[in-house]
Symmetry: C3
Subunit: 372 residues, 3 copies
């Protein structure tokens, strides 16, 4: 067994893992960002004709919407004198550098050098493929010439009728992997989130974890549990419910949670909710934390919108605060040799970090093969 | 003579010393912190059942008092996911991590993993020996298995009846050695502290410096000097006084000053005052500056308390400001090769820095011997 | 052709240049500061008997005026305990260290150690040659024993009668070379400064660039252009003017601009204005930006003073903001291999950066020769 393996024997804390060493079989701080994926760059509503500067996977990027409403993403550094393009202006389908007025198209090619009137090919910035999908704007951080559209995750609950959603965003001063692990772990609920969110059943719930290829899935079923009274009343649940919570991480950019509730008596319809967490690495020490919740019921009820938004704000803010405290400590202690201990409830997180490490290795191997 | 030696010839500025080079015979910025000593971790009154986070000798430590009032000091990093234990809660004699609820005893051993109900031995944090002594809580920063109680300094004037004391604290953004040297030096009084504190006799006073083993002692006697009028009146001193001021540094964590005043005429009793300065290194660039004053007279007089506190606050704040200005400059100039010049009035400070360098070498040699 | 050469073929963007690589034939971030020159240390009015601390070419310096009004510049670090001399006091022609009272003369030699009464030769700080010239105080940053007075630039328009001037200062968080290049470039006017300053003629103006030794000169003539109405009225210009703008960089510390305006009809006198920009490197990432404007007309008109000051403030603040945005980006991206593309309008700037690179190499060779 590798040094980072979690013992098969549930319930016994066993192995340790390196938080910053290379070559661990779990992704950690030493693992390069996984570039060949679609990350949330921004909410669709954030991007307009005023350029938006954002750092993603440690790269400075400018996002804007051209006159036709099409989103563009370019490297936010003019190749002429390194002026941030985000300080310029959008003109038609071009962005105009604010320093000497050089114009670039959505493809990153120079469209005009005003002082000479020409548009040399050497003046070019990297253009990032983008896809708008309901509230999300996804950006492809891998080879710009070969975006893999098969790696986009279809999420009809954010684009099709019959669903309502709310969204939120936190800037988070913490490495993105901590958020992934946090989301795979139910055992922290009662401690970090307190009694409102952390039901007694969470602390000891043992989810069923499966791994298919590099996709980790964790499912936990709770029978006969109580639901928040206000919600229960409105939902028309006469008594306790059965709840199936599923977490799946199809790409490093998405933790997709699904909750299905139905009256334990079997009466009535199932209520479905999706909770999507999209950690977009900003730098080695910070993450854009985008989240969204979609629901199949009460879709025109603004009170429920507000409730869901408040619920997300509160719980995710607590997660953010915890992860930031860890980041601060890890950075201050400067001890990359520190090894963290694993306990049984870490299983889903550990499987996920292993899957991410595999993805990273496979993508790197692919890149080498393509280069060869 | 070594390059860092102070010439025997008083009054002539002579040698220079390295501020950051290794291998100097005086302790400097390149000298590792002296771990095998007791440092002030906190005032006793600061520590309660709410955990207190403090960085000491560059280590993150959590201090708390358990339900029985006993002080504990643990590494402030949960071995599970690096969450600061100081963000958790005290429960009985345990501290409960705020992330997943793992519980630790005062000895740093895991007492419970709530998600599994067991308490694996591998989940353990470093526990630091602590001793409470009057207003002080001392922490042993060396090998936790072998705290040297013979290195605790008995200070009955802070624990016995017949004495009154006041205390103060400054966070100081400066290396701790500068404070030690400052405290050994009287010649800065009139320049840094002005006329109120810096009496003319200070600038040219030549203390008698002795070294016994690694303990440096500096004594200066002033005959027939005036005392602050308010104090003199209250003390019943009819005229000028004789004053003997003694400074001794028994460990890197303590500068112990003692002042004995008696009417020059020989009438009446001697008044004794202790002024204890305890620099606890926080990081390479910052220090916890704890200070306390004890006196044998007017022990129930709150006005004298206030006066002493004000005196300390003012003078020590000026020292702190000077040392911070030096730190800022030294860091900004990034010139570890800079050599400072020594002058005759540095003798006590120089002897102290040599003694600290010896202590550090001896402790290191001991550690090697124990390891062997 | 070298990799950094600008093609002869005007109008075609061609080559690229390294922003941080060594050995480029253009000065860049990797080029050491040019020490053997006079830089503006401060405005004459800034320096009095209260010591002024300033960092110049990454060195901490204290400036003061002694009792006789003579300006002194010393290393701002007491050789005794590294206390900043700037926190001390001026006494006659000496500066007194605020920690232990050691006194230094304008020549940097110790004048008194108060605790011993002597003045040892080893206690000495570096003294920098300074020259006061009208509003400017120049400091020589090269070998203090051999200031080259032939490198001082005579500027009678700031010292002789018949001229009026205004001055301004910006602290700028950007490398100084960016300012030099900005000042050599007219093409950014309409984009960065907008319509008020950036006349249409600027964007496409092609200045005549000449290089004599290491002195780069750029001249642009505009015939029949309009002048700001308020100014034109006051100046008595009946119609459009001819304007000759000349930029010359005699040393790394000075960009000297001269504008001569005369009514296009040939009637009346020529108006002469000098605009002097003095970038004094503070650190690798910051610059003291001193500027001054002198004029030959309306010399007692305070409204014109205010207008010129406002004009400078606005335009130069925009330059500063742009250069700071670039600095922030370049530092954040940490990509010293980034190559910037050159376009035809960069010619003057490119010639200047080449001249500065030559100066630096020549000064370095001189230093070696002197040392040999
Ligand atoms: S920096 Fe963008 S056009 Fe010059
Ligand atoms: S981090 Fe402390 S219990 Fe998990
Ligand atoms: S530090 Fe300047 S006199 Fe001591």
């Amino acid at each position: 067994m590798g040094e980072d393996q979690l013992s098969a024997e549930a319930g016994s804390p066993i192995e340790s893992r390196s938080i910053g060493g290379c070559g661990s079989d779990m992704a950690n701080r030493a693992t390069p960002f996984l570039e060949s994926h679609w990350y949330v760059a921004a909410w669709a509503g954030e991007i307009g004709t005023t350029p938006l500067a954002r750092t993603i996977l440690d790269r400075r990027i400018v996002l804007y919407r051209d006159a036709a409403g099409v989103v563009a993403a370019l490297a936010d550094r003019c190749p002429h004198r390194s002026y941030p393009l985000s300080r310029g202006e959008v003109k038609g389908d071009r962005i105009v550098c604010g320093y000497h007025g050089i114009e670039f198209g959505r493809d990153g090619r120079c469209a005009l050098v005003p002082s000479t009137g020409n548009a040399p090919g050497a003046l070019r910035v990297r253009a990032y493929p983008v896809v708008e999908q309901g509230p999300f704007v996804w950006i492809w951080m891998g080879d710009p010439a070969a975006p893999r559209h098969d790696r986009l995750v279809d999420q009809p609950w954010f684009t099709e009728p019959g669903w309502a959603h709310v969204t939120g965003y936190f800037p988070m001063r913490a490495h993105y992997l901590g958020l992934h692990e946090n989301l795979m772990d139910l055992s922290h609920f009662p401690f970090l989130h307190g009694v409102a969110v952390g039901k007694p059943e969470h602390a000891t719930a043992r989810p069923k974890v499966t791994v298919e290829g590099n996709v980790v899935r964790s499912v936990v079923e709770h029978r006969d549990v109580t639901v928040m009274p206000a919600y229960g009343r409105r939902a028309g649940f006469a008594g306790p419910v059965d709840r199936v919570s599923e977490s799946v991480v199809p790409t490093p950019a998405i933790h997709l949670g699904k909750v299905v509730m139905r009256e334990a008596s079997g009466r009535g319809e199932a209520h479905v909710r999706y909770i999507v967490h999209c950690p977009t690495p900003e730098t080695e020490h910070s993450t854009h934390y985008f989240w969204a919740m979609a629901r199949s019921h009460f879709i025109d009820d603004e009170d429920i919108d507000a409730e869901m938004r408040a619920l997300g704000e509160k719980a995710f803010r607590e997660d953010k605060a915890a992860l930031e405290a860890i980041e601060e400590l890890v950075v201050a202690e400067r001890d990359p040799a520190f090894r963290e201990r694993l306990i049984a409830s870490d299983e889903a997180g550990v499987q996920l970090l292993r899957a991410l490490a595999r993805m990273e290795r496979e993508d790197r191997a692919d890149a080498v093969a393509v280069g060869a």
